[in-house]
Point group: C2
Chain length 328, copies 2
C-alpha cells in the first residue's frame, strides 16, 4: 500500500507533516509513504526510511490561490503531483492539509469522479457532547449547489463510510433541516426527505435540526454543501469564540479569579480536547476514484498521524470499491 | 400609544409576561397595555392600573400547534385576538412569546403584509464577542424559500431598522455566504450579492462568513430564511452545549475543581450574560403593517420588559411607516 502526501499544505507545513509521517512510520512497517515537496527542504527534515520516498516538486499551491486555476497552472506543485501519483496508480490514496478548494479540484479533476456519482462530497467527522460519540456530516462545501439526487447519494456514501470505517451497524442517517417534520424546509429538503426515505439499505430516521447536532442522535447527517458549510463554520466559530472569551476572562481577572483559573484549568482543557478534531482525522472527499483526505489547515503532527491512518483504513476497507459497486 | 400583548405565549406565561408588563408600567406613564388571556386567571395576577386593560380570551395557541391551522381555528385565542386588535387599530403593535410559526402567521395573515413587501422576515438582535456590539440578522426563518428580491428587501428593511432603532448611522450590511469573494456561494447568493450592491442608500460591504459573525464586522446580516435559521440554531445549540458541559464538569469535579468553580463562577456567569439575549428584546417580524415582536419562548420578566420597550420604540420611531414610504 502506498500513500501520497502533500508535504507543503497547511499552516505548519512541512514540519508538522513530516513529524506526523514519522510518527505513523514508527508504528507501521508495511505502508509506503510518498512525500511530495522540494527535495532539498524535505531531506533536511526527514529521517531516512525504506518506507519513505521524497518526490521532488517545485511549486506550492498557496492557501489563497484560486483552486481550479492553481490545479491547472501549478502542474509541478506538491498537491497536483501527489494527486497525479494516485491517478497513475503509483499511490492508493492522497492526504493534503492545504487549500481546501484546490484539494477538491485535484480530487475531482485529477483523480476523477467515480462514474455515476453526480457530485463528490466533503465529509468531516464531528464531536457531540457525549464522549466517544461522533457523526459524519456531508456535504460541507464541495458543492455550493444542491439537487435531490446529490443528497440521496450523500446518504448512501455517508452510510457506507460510517459502517465501513467507524464499524457502525446500520448507521442512523438524518437530514439536516430547519424543523423535524417531513414537510419542513424548502422544496429541496422536503423532496430530499421523501427520496432518502425510499432508499434501500439506508437507516433513515428523518430530519435533524442544528440544535440537536450535539446530542448524538445521528451517525450520518446529510446536507447540501451550502447549508453544511455554513453550519460547520458556525459550529467552529462559536466554539472557538466561547472558549477563547472564557480563557481571556480568567487570565485578565483578579487574584481570586486567577487562583480559580489554575484549579479549573484541567476542566477547560478537557473540554477543549473533547471537541478537538485532531483524532478524527481529516475530512474525506467521498465519490472520487481513490481515498482523498483533507486535513485541517492548522494540522499538528497528531492530526497528520491520524489522517494518514484514516487514508490507510479507507484503502484497506476498499471503501471506494464499495461506492463503485453501488453506482456502476 | 397602545400595545397588545399575548399573555399566554411562552414557557412561563402568564406569570413572566404579567411581571414584565408591571415592570414596564412602573417606568412608563403614557403607554396603554392591552393584555390578552383568560380574564379570571389574569385578574388574579395583575395589579390594577389605569394603563392596563385585560381583554378576555378563551383559547390558547400551544407551542406544538400547526401555525396556520391554529390561527384559522383558534379565533378566540390570546394571540389571534391580540393580532386582530392591532389590525383594527385598537393597538399599535403586538408582542407574543408563544409559538413562532403562529406569531408569523398572525402577523402576515391577520395584521397583513406591507404592500410591495414580497416576504416579511424574522430578525433577532444577536451578540458578538465585543461587549456592547450587536448585529441584526434576517431572515432567520419566516421563509423557507428564497429569491434574490427577498434578500434585497431584507437588506433595506434591516438597514432602516438598525439606523432607526439602534441609532447606527449608515449601518454596515453584509450578506451571509460561504466565502468572502463576490463569486462565492450558490447562484442565489452570487446574484443577491450583485443586486444588493446596486441598492441606493445601503452601506453594503460584501459577504460575511459564519465564522466571522462574532467579530462585529456587520450591523446587519442578510440571509435567506433557511440558512439563517440553520445558522441561528447552530449558534444557540453550540453556545448552550459548551456552557452546559463546562458547568457540569465543574459541578461533578473533585474538591480542587469545586473550589476553583466557586472562584470563577462570576466569570462564567458574566460570559453567559454577555450572550444572554434578554436585553436585546425579541425578534422583529419586519414587513408587516405594524410592529410585531416575537419574544424568546423561555422569556423571563426582564426579557418581556425589554421586548415591550422595543415595540414602543418601533411605534415611536414610525419604522413601519418608513418601510411603507420606501415600497409604496
Amino acid at each position: 500500500m502506498k500513500i501520497a502526501i502533500d508535504a507543503m499544505g497547511g499552516d505548519d507545513a512541512p514540519q508538522a507533516i513530516v513529524t506526523g509521517v514519522e510518527r505513523f512510520l514508527k508504528e507501521d512497517s508495511q505502508t509506503q509513504i510518498r512525500l511530495f515537496g522540494p527535495q532539498a527542504q524535505l531531506t533536511e527534515l526527514v529521517t531516512p526510511s525504506p518506507q519513505l520516498t521524497v518526490v521532488n516538486t517545485t511549486q506550492i499551491v498557496e492557501g489563497n490561490d484560486e483552486p481550479v486555476a492553481a490545479i491547472r497552472q501549478k502542474r509541478d506543485s506538491s498537491l497536483v503531483r501527489a494527486a497525479e501519483d494516485v491517478k497513475t496508480g503509483q499511490a492508493d490514496g492522497l492526504l493534503s492539509c492545504g487549500n481546501t478548494g484546490a484539494i477538491l479540484a485535484a480530487g475531482i479533476f485529477v483523480i476523477g469522479r467515480i462514474k455515476n456519482v453526480e457530485r463528490p462530497a466533503l465529509m468531516p467527522t464531528l464531536p457531540t457532547s457525549m464522549v466517544g460519540k461522533y457523526y459524519n456530516m456531508l456535504d460541507v462545501g464541495a458543492n455550493a449547489e444542491a439537487k435531490i439526487s446529490y443528497l440521496t447519494q450523500f446518504a448512501q456514501m455517508g452510510s457506507i463510510y460510517a459502517a465501513d470505517l467507524r464499524g457502525i451497524k446500520d448507521p442512523v442517517v438524518k437530514l439536516l433541516n430547519i424543523g423535524s417534520e417531513p414537510h419542513k424546509g424548502d422544496p429541496l429538503h422536503q423532496k430530499a426527505f421523501a427520496a432518502i426515505s425510499q432508499l434501500a439499505g439506508i437507516n433513515f430516521q428523518g430530519n435533524i435540526e442544528p440544535t440537536e447536532l450535539f446530542q448524538g442522535a445521528a451517525d450520518v447527517v446529510v446536507t447540501d454543501g451550502f447549508t453544511g458549510n455554513a453550519v460547520l463554520k458556525t459550529l467552529e466559530g462559536t466554539m472557538k469564540t466561547i472558549l477563547h472569551l472564557f480563557k481571556n476572562s480568567l487570565v485578565d481577572g483578579n487574584l481570586k479569579t486567577k487562583i480559580g483559573a489554575l484549579l479549573v484549568r484541567g476542566n477547560l482543557s478537557n473540554l477543549a480536547n473533547q471537541f478537538n478534531n485532531s483524532r478524527f482525522g481529516g475530512a474525506v472527499l467521498l465519490g472520487v476514484n481513490a481515498p482523498v483526505i483533507k486535513g485541517h489547515g492548522n494540522s499538528q503532527p497528531e492530526t497528520v498521524y491520524y489522517a494518514i491512518k484514516q487514508v490507510k483504513e479507507m484503502i484497506e476497507g476498499q471503501t471506494v470499491q464499495k461506492f463503485k459497486d453501488l453506482y456502476q
